[in-house]
């Protein structure tokens, strides 16, 4: 079987180079894709994102990428969202007003409550794995991963949660439902542990 090909969605925002570099490091064949009509050519899709929700979702809709992604999702293609990419997969977000998301996961994106902790949540924090999933296979126990975010995902169905972390209180930082997966932290910036997660994603496509 041919090596899996991964599309990194370029919608004008986000740190694409880092994700590309990380896939190169784990021997995943990835390319940056701006054309919604070409998504069918890929085995898996990565939705990255550094930015604010409102502009990101508007940009995805305007280019036709949102519809194209949804169509790929319905065919069962594996899609991984990172950081804002994960949040975009949710029902809605409260960032700078209420905005509708792609709605693939029944979850709301809300501000991290400032319960005696610094906001944004920036830095390395323990990842608590709450259930088995291919993405978290063979990780060391409660590894440190790198976060940089002000909003968090709140899943309606606790079964969707794969991993949590504690900042003020515990919250979801990895989810998965069928072929849709999201990661709140930055695997491409989390050294060996992050690269292992991306390598697991590549392997899951084979």
């Amino acid at each position: 079987m041919a090596a899996p090909k991964i599309a990194i969605i370029d919608y004008g925002m986000g740190n694409l180079r880092s994700v590309m570099n990380a896939f190169r490091e784990v021997k995943g064949e990835a390319s940056i894709e701006t054309d919604p009509e070409r998504l069918a050519d890929y085995t898996g899709i990565l939705l990255p994102g550094v930015g604010a929700f409102e502009e990101a979702i508007a940009s995805l809709r305007k280019s036709g990428m949102a519809d194209a992604l949804d169509m790929q999702r319905r065919t069962g293609k594996s899609i991984l969202g990172i950081c804002l990419g994960m949040q975009l997969m949710c029902r809605s977000s409260q960032e700078n007003g209420l905005h509708e998301g792609l709605g693939w996961i029944d979850a709301a994106v809300n501000p991290i409550p400032p319960k005696g902790v610094k906001i944004p949540h920036i830095g390395w924090n323990d990842l608590m794995i709450t259930r088995e999933h291919v993405l978290v296979r063979d990780l060391p126990p409660s590894p440190d991963v790198y976060f940089v975010h002000s909003y968090r995902v709140e899943c309606a169905d606790p079964q969707d949660v794969i991993a949590t972390c504690h900042h003020g209180e515990p919250f979801c930082v990895m989810f998965a439902r069928d072929n849709v997966q999201g990661i709140q932290f930055h695997p491409e910036k989390s050294q060996q542990v992050g690269l292992k997660i991306l390598s697991n994603f590549v392997e899951s496509l084979a």
Binding site: M13, N21, K118, P120, I122, W124, H166, K189, G194
Partner: protein, 253 residues
């Protein structure tokens, strides 16, 4: 539990990594910034800050190229700063692989630009770099434009305003302490840490590992240093071991 971050700073002037002493740059440490970064990455720093301290804006293209080269082989977070004066260049930095943007002079010259970039990329992406300097009477004020312009604004007022404008983190430095081997300006650092809700990175003056601990005790979320990392072998590992033994949580893997 969130870990105390250890941050290595690369001070880049006209394409080379330089030593900074009170914002003056006489020694070139590395001719190739990528080589300097490779040492850090292997030696387990948690984050890298790359600052373009060149005196003119013509350095921007070369610096963007350096950022791209560094990020292509670096799997820790990268913050970049220096001459980010428009949205296009901010965007170029992020596309080159940077995770956060360190802004300084624009807080003074074009505050609306800070808000615009923050709206576009989220406040977690915006780091307000604050350079302070004390007058002869000891009163601290914030300087911009590579330490050339005295804004006559008190550090805490500046920090609060920076957060209002859209900063999600503070990068604190003291021109008097920069490269001066006496540790951070703890008084101003503590004042800012206590006065804002966002994380604060302490920088400027680290010469011994206990200077890092002093920064954490003053309330800093992350402790940064530059020169010491270049001149001490396996420095990041030693620094982390020191922090760990002193009872501070550090990244293990």
């Amino acid at each position: 539990m969130r870990k105390t971050r250890l941050i290595a700073v690369l001070v880049v002037r006209d394409g080379q990594v330089v030593q900074s002493v009170r914002f003056k740059h006489t020694n070139v440490i590395h001719y190739d910034p990528v080589h300097a970064m490779e040492c850090f990455n292997k030696w387990a720093v948690d984050e890298i800050v790359i600052l373009n301290v060149s005196r003119d804006a013509e350095s921007r293209d070369k610096f963007a190229e350096i950022v791209g080269n560094i990020c292509s082989d670096c799997f820790v977070p990268v913050t970049v700063g220096g001459w980010i004066t428009d949205v296009d260049y901010a965007s170029r930095m992020l596309r080159s692989g940077a995770d956060k943007l360190c802004l300084n002079t624009v807080f003074h010259t074009a505050p609306e630009l800070v808000t615009r970039i923050s709206r576009r990329y989220g406040r977690q992406c915006i780091v307000a770099s604050i350079d302070i300097k004390r007058a002869e009477d000891g009163l601290a004020s914030v300087y911009v434009d590579r330490g050339r312009i005295d804004t006559r604004v008190a550090p805490l007022d500046w920090a609060r305003r920076a957060v209002e404008l859209g900063a999600g983190e503070i990068f604190f430095n003291s021109i008097d302490h920069d490269g001066n081997r006496k540790g951070y300006d703890l008084e101003s650092l503590q004042q800012i840490c206590n006065g804002v809700e966002v994380p604060v990175i302490a920088f400027g003056g680290v010469f011994r590992w206990d200077h890092l601990a002093e920064g954490v005790t003053a309330g800093a979320d992350a402790v940064a240093a530059a020169n010491i990392f270049h001149y001490t072998e396996h420095s990041a590992k030693k620094a982390k071991k020191f922090l760990f033994n002193a009872g501070y949580p550090v990244r293990s893997n």
